[in-house]
Point group: C2
Chain length 245, copies 2
């Protein structure tokens, strides 16, 4: 089915991922979601497509925020099974989002949460997203932070003698390309891109970059869980809003 690894249909990965998403203190809930939702426009009457919708929590949120049509796209049959069961009012399409030729209408918002680091050719994707947006439409996405995807041997923290995290071991940042990481299972395939490569791909596709966020946990969350302070050395996510002017 296309070029992108379908790791979410791996049984072990799927079960591990389910557990993470059930955790109300996850980085997704504490850091990513408030930041990415803060970039969303007024959705009343808007058509929204969510690339890599997973369980469709975001799709459900957009529907609640007044979106007219919400379409969720995912490569994983297992994820879509859950998504469909829980969201009867939303359309779903099973597809590899690296090829958007299955999209035959234009949208007000193209949204993508923590999926694009799985896509090999971001330049091609940015151009395809531009093509399926209405004029004035917005591309709002989050991805793993480039600091996280950079190290070929996987991300590592640096600790002091007391075991406190004091820095992040950044390597291979400028060597963009394929990464095999062990996350829930072995050999999950991701693609590392530098900041400038991500931004320039959007510019080259015709977008105006409107906002870039590197969100952190709130002070309250850090007070509750002091080890979250390590995010000051390396944020978890990169979030961008780009507009088709």
């Amino acid at each position: 089915m296309g070029k992108t690894q379908n790791i979410y249909d791996n049984e072990t990965f799927f079960e591990g991922y389910k557990k993470i998403r059930q955790d109300k203190q996850s980085a997704n809930i504490l850091e990513e979601m408030p930041a990415i939702y803060s970039l969303a426009p007024d959705l009343h009457g808007k058509d929204v497509i969510d690339l890599g919708c997973g369980y469709a929590e975001h799709c459900a949120h957009f529907k609640k925020m007044g979106a007219k049509e919400v379409v969720g796209v995912d490569i994983s049959e297992k994820m879509l099974e859950v998504a469909k069961r829980e969201n009867p009012g939303i359309k779903f399409v099973r597809a590899d989002i690296s090829d958007l030729s299955f999209v035959h209408k234009k949208y007000d918002v193209v949204f993508s949460s923590l999926t694009l680091h799985y896509i090999k050719d971001f330049n091609s994707l940015a151009k395809q997203v531009f093509a399926i947006l209405k004029k004035g439409g917005e591309f709002i996405f989050s991805q793993e932070h480039p600091f996280s995807t950079a190290p070929i041997d996987g991300p590592k923290w640096i600790k002091n003698e007391k075991g406190e995290t004091v820095a992040y071991n950044l390597s291979d940042y400028a060597l963009s390309g394929k990464r095999k990481v062990n996350w829930l299972v072995e050999d999950v395939i991701m693609y590392h891109r530098t900041f400038s490569e991500v931004i320039n791909a959007l510019i080259d596709a015709g977008f105006k970059v409107e906002r870039v966020l590197e969100p952190l946990p709130s002070k309250a969350a850090i007070k509750k869980e002091p080890k979250l302070k390590r995010r000051y050395h390396k944020p978890n996510f990169l979030i961008i809003k780009a507009v088709k002017k």
Copy 2:
């Protein structure tokens, strides 16, 4: 004279800096200059102002490229002394560029090489630069890479048992603000900003970001000096072109 530290008038700093700039294999020559010049438009008939001109090598280059008027601005009397002696055809102004109220005309290009990390309030500077640009004018600048300015204790490489650089010790990235670094002399004051803070300041000032570069040494330069490979872990510079549409 304003708020910015005038470290270039420190005798030891000035002499140390002179030596670095005389080195034809410096990072400025191998990495920064080709990248920042690659972003410059056709300068024929254009008015250019260079914020933090130093010795005015860039001013001289712009003149040679056909610029009509070139103005060099620097806070350092010593730097301007050299600049004036070597460039009789160029106007120079001694000023702290954190306050551009001395500028009374509009320019086609505002250029700044490796100076803006000395300026405390980049949001204010971006707005002031926007104001002194003609419509369609370009703000082209380089700065220390945010990875370099991030660590409060200064940048550190990580080496393996053989003494080879294998990573960069990234810390305090999300804690933007003042840094005191030891570079040529003690307590040189710089300001760290994250990628997103730099980009968003430009957007908020009204700019369209057109290009972001994180230049590396060429393959030939790395072949000649293999230790330059460490730039793959941490590039030295961040270079941006933003346009007043």
